[in-house]
């Protein structure tokens, strides 16, 4: 073993010291000759004869040197280098071919690397700088029907009772408005448990992380750690920043730390700018102080498993805790479980959103790569016919099959290596592409970076090698069947042999077309879904309604001031020309925030033992339903007289009505939420609340004045364009309070569109890649058809000589192309029927077997293949029979 190694080392050494060894050998050889001559002289030969005899006996000195070199060096490495140089020479000699092949491979590998980098950066290791991400899991609460957050007391119980976890931590996204001059800057931040930074292994570059006691007490610890970016941008990188203060949501916070550069928090989709401890929940979250309420399931949290613990084991432990809580606290925990999710399925950030899209993309890019490989394979094949003579001669002079295969593989490797470099560059360039497809909110772009770490690189290189094997093997199969005698005897290129060998190329085209068809069907289905989802009625009017917000909390208004301010603001806006109506609401439908949620009781309704009726609700001002355009099917709107002093009232939606008062009109009945009985005064049509995909949800509305919170959104019914209205409203705001700033003004339609942006990303990406695949497949088809035509010149000439007219020949070529296309389409359709179901979640009211999508894909592909065949077919009609028959 070691002697082998030693030999290898010696050989490697001598491989790189060629000249020195050659000089040594030269010296040895001349010594040899001198010794021989001397001996010959002693035997009495003449000087000349002695020299002649010595040379004869020595034999060919060049050959000896060659043998020596071969014996001492690594033959494999040397031939590899030879083949490598040869491959480069061949590529330089046909730059058109090389460029086309490299183009195809760059696209194929680039698309793969880009998707890998997104998956790595968004799903598998989404949190830069965080230690042991592979052991992180996300936690949510679960009921039979729904997914919820966790309550703080339940979270503490998990921390105390679970042995299989290193730690649990909370990271609940929140936001605040920092005013910079007259511009309000909305920044995203997290409410976190005090152990957050220590658990993640993140050490502030200035100041400190949170202390354990900062978790405790209602708004008792107004301290914050800010991000590096915020520190640089807003505070100019002030080295004395620690101890300075910043007003956030009306409370002066002391800055205690600056997070290191490159740490963006733990929320896929947004870069966090600040962190506050859980005790500040009351300040940042609507709905009051929740740290002591087991029924308030507001937190988003993660756990880190101990090394070697599986998700299943951890789930069992967590479920056991949930079961104990269910028994100990039936009032709040009846029927509530706790569920663990792998990081890439995290349901409360954009990971869960992007997962189906990225999974689909992974399949799509593999298809694109296969199509690209088929193209390159075809190109190599055509070229290997052009090089048939060269290869045959090489076989004839004794090149081994292995050596030929090696050379073909090396040529392929050179191509794909260049393609891989290009592809990785593309992927790098694409790593921030996803963000461009997603909406900017309040001037903040999302944070969705791809990650090009060594895993992505390694995977891309593996894909590249696999691709090389795939496409380089195609001509290799062909070459290994070279019929020496036949090829050397005649260079005849005719129909018979053309047919015999063209099946490989035809198969490749059929495969390409079928893959392309599947992609087109997928893109068509997604496009239809997007159209459906965007044209579907959300249950309110999206036309002529604007939404915006004014952040009074950040400017330090208390509830009383806020009330009078908002009333005056409503009056001023109402008076603006072009405004039909305006209303406040705590949340707007399909917006970014979450609605309040509470357990409810219904008068005269006895819930089942394991049933805990609850519903989401919104606090809306007078005229909300008219402004947003939600029809009331019965009863009345809220008015200004539904205020703090009036009797509590509520408006419920039809779904809630149908569930608890089946067959009855519940107007006048009573509903209880948060310990308060309310009389139902109206029934509204069920609309969409969180997402266009949701099932009808039970939902109710209460008058804003009867459940007041300072923050809120404005809804305005107007024909004015958003920017015109924004300008007018800014003037009104300034007139009332110089310090106030307006959030962005967008139409409700825009808000709905934003809520379906994952859909849009999927459509854009599949559409783009589908188009790319179409181009690649068209190139493949064109290549094969024009090669077939050029190789069957003789046949075409013969047909012409026998009386075929040019339109007949045109049809002949076109129909050959179409046969390939149609076969591909049928194969593709058969596969697509099995595959489109995988789109599942991304489809919206569209069947995976939707005939229109299949039909369009069929039409597009047929049309494109006609175009691809047109030029070769036209060329076929130009064949001159005389020339063609003399061709050979």
């Amino acid at each position: 073993m070691s002697s082998r190694l030693l030999r290898l080392i010696r050989r490697l050494r001598s491989f790189f010291r060629v000249t020195e060894q050659d000089r040594d050998l030269d010296a040895e050889m001349s010594a040899h000759l001198e010794l021989a001559i001397e001996e010959n002289l002693q035997r009495g030969l003449s000087q000349d004869e002695a020299r002649r005899q010595a040379l004869i006996h020595f034999g060919g000195s060049q050959q000896a040197k060659e043998n020596h070199r071969e014996a001492r060096s690594l033959p494999l490495l040397e031939t590899l280098l030879q083949d490598f140089r040869f491959a480069l020479r061949m590529l330089r000699r046909s730059p058109g071919f090389a460029l086309l092949a490299i183009f195809c491979l760059t696209l194929g590998i680039g698309a793969n690397a880009a998707v890998f980098s997104w998956m790595e950066g968004l799903l598998f290791r989404p949190y830069p700088m965080v230690a042991n991400q592979e052991r992180l899991v996300a936690l949510t609460g679960s009921t039979k029907a729904d997914r919820t957050g966790l309550s703080w007391p339940d979270f503490l119980d998990l921390q105390r009772n679970c042995k299989l976890f290193d730690a649990f931590f909370v990271s609940k996204i929140t936001g605040t408005t920092l005013s910079i001059g007259d511009r309000a800057q909305v920044v995203t931040g997290s409410i976190v448990s005090a152990n957050y930074f220590n658990t993640l292994g993140i050490h502030p570059i200035l100041g400190r992380a949170f202390d354990p006691e900062e978790d405790v007490g209602r708004s008792a610890h107004p301290v914050t750690v800010i991000s590096y970016q915020l520190w640089k941008e807003r505070f100019g990188g002030d080295p004395q920043i620690i101890g300075k203060t910043q007003r956030m949501d009306g409370v002066i916070h002391t800055i205690i730390g600056v997070a290191p550069e490159g740490f963006y928090g733990t929320f896929v989709g947004w870069a966090m700018k600040f962190w506050v401890p859980a005790s500040m929940e009351d300040t940042f979250e609507a709905g009051g102080y929740k740290l002591e309420d087991r029924g308030e399931r507001w937190i988003e949290s993660y756990g880190r498993l101990k090394a070697g613990v599986t998700l299943e084991q951890a789930q069992q432990e967590v479920s056991a805790v949930a079961k104990r809580l269910d028994a100990d606290y039936p009032a709040t925990n009846r029927g509530h479980g706790i569920q663990l999710w792998p990081l890439w399925q995290t349901p409360f950030n954009n990971a869960g959103n992007l997962l189906p899209t990225l999974e689909t993309m992974l399949v799509v890019v593999v298809f694109v790569l296969l199509i690209a490989c088929a193209n390159v394979g075809n190109l190599l094949l055509v070229r290997s016919f052009a090089r048939r003579h060269e290869i045959t001669v090489r076989v004839a002079v004794g090149a081994g099959r292995k050596r030929l295969l090696q050379q073909l593989l090396i040529e392929g490797l050179v191509l794909s290596a260049i393609g891989a470099i290009g592809g990785l560059l593309i992927a790098r360039w694409c790593s921030h592409l996803l963000v461009l497809l997603l909406p900017v909110r309040n001037g903040n772009a999302m944070h969705l970076p791809g990650e090009m770490d060594w895993r992505v690189m390694a995977l891309s290189i593996a894909v590249c090698l696999l691709a090389t094997l795939l496409f380089a093997l195609v001509p290799a199969i062909q070459t290994s069947k070279i019929d020496l005698a036949g090829t050397l005897r005649s260079e005849m290129a005719g129909v018979a042999r053309g047919r015999g060998k063209s099946w490989v190329r035809s198969t490749l085209v059929v495969v390409q077309v079928s893959l392309c068809f599947i992609l087109l069907v997928g893109a068509g289905l997604l496009l239809e879904s997007l159209q459906k989802i965007r044209s579907d009625s959300p249950g309110f009017s999206t036309d002529g309604v604007l939404v915006t917000a004014v952040n009074l909390v950040a400017s330090g208004y208390d509830a009383e001031h806020a009330k009078s301010f908002q009333e005056e603001l409503i009056d001023r806006i109402q008076a603006l020309p072009g405004v039909e109506s305006v209303a406040f609401a705590r949340q707007t439908p399909l917006g970014y925030g979450t609605f309040s949620s509470a357990p409810i009781a219904v008068e005269g309704y006895q819930p089942a033992p394991d049933e805990q009726p609850s519903a989401d609700y919104n606090q809306v001002g007078p005229g909300y339903f008219a402004t947003v355009g939600i029809p009331l099917v019965s009863g009345r709107e809220f008015t200004r007289s539904d205020n703090e002093t009036a009797a509590p009232v509520a408006i419920i939606n039809e779904t809630l009505a149908a569930r608890y008062w089946p067959g009855k009109n519940p107007v006048g009945e009573r509903l209880q939420a948060k310990g308060k009985w309310m009389q139902i005064v109206g029934i509204a049509k069920t609309s969409k609340y969180y997402s266009m995909r949701e099932q009808p949800k039970p939902f109710f509305y209460v008058p804003r004045r009867q459940d007041f919170s300072i923050s809120g959104a404005l809804t305005i019914r107007t024909r004015l364009r958003p920017e015109i209205f924004a300008a007018a409203m800014s003037r009104e705001l300034k007139a009332m309070d110089q310090n106030l700033a307006l959030y962005e003004v967008i139409s409700l339609q825009e808000q709905v569109d934003r809520s379906t942006s994952a859909q849009k990303v999927a459509v854009t990406l599949t559409g783009t890649l589908g188009g790319l695949a179409l181009v690649l497949a068209a190139i493949g088809l064109y290549g094969v058809m024009s090669y077939t035509v050029s190789q069957s010149t003789r046949e075409l000439g013969l047909r012409m000589a026998l009386g075929a007219n040019s339109s007949g020949l045109f049809r002949l070529v076109i129909s050959r192309g179409l046969v390939l296309t149609i076969s591909g389409i049928f194969l593709g359709a058969a596969l697509a029927v099995g595959l489109t179901r995988l789109l599942g979640y991304l489809l919206y009211k569209v069947s995976p077997y939707d005939l229109r999508a299949f039909g369009y894909a069929f039409l597009v592909l047929t049309l494109v293949s006609l175009i691809a065949c047109f030029l070769p077919a036209w060329r076929a009609t130009r064949v001159d029979p005389i020339v063609a028959l003399r061709y050979e």
Partner: protein
């Protein structure tokens, strides 16, 4: 003159070189080549140059070692000698050749047509 000379089988030259060095001690390339020619009674078709490939091969395997030195008549030449591992290898290979040539001898000694009976 060369019609009846023996072509060297693959690997035989290496063995001859080893044996020569084992028998003669330290020799330079020319000396080894001459020695083989003499011992074989000029029956071997040997281009003397080919022995250098064999020498480098044996050297890389660690079976012989080489050193520049001066010949008896004061010429600079590279001298080779067999190593301990080379001797071990030689005894193995020699045994193998003995057996092979015995078997070959027996097989070739079969009279023609003897299989028919």
């Amino acid at each position: 003159m060369s019609e009846s000379k023996l072509d060297l089988l693959q690997g035989t030259l290496d063995l001859m070189v080893l044996q020569t060095l084992a028998a003669m001690g330290t020799l330079h390339g020319y000396g080894i080549a001459r020695r083989i020619e003499q011992v074989s009674g000029n029956e071997v078709l040997l281009n003397q140059g080919t022995i250098y490939a064999s020498l480098v091969r044996l050297q890389q395997r660690g079976w012989i070692s080489a050193e520049w030195g001066t010949s008896t008549n004061n010429r600079k030449a590279k001298f080779y000698s067999i190593t301990k591992r080379g001797r071990k290898q030689l005894s193995q290979d020699a045994a193998y050749w003995q057996r092979l040539s015995e078997v070959m001898g027996r097989v070739l000694a079969l009279p023609e047509g003897s299989g028919d009976k």
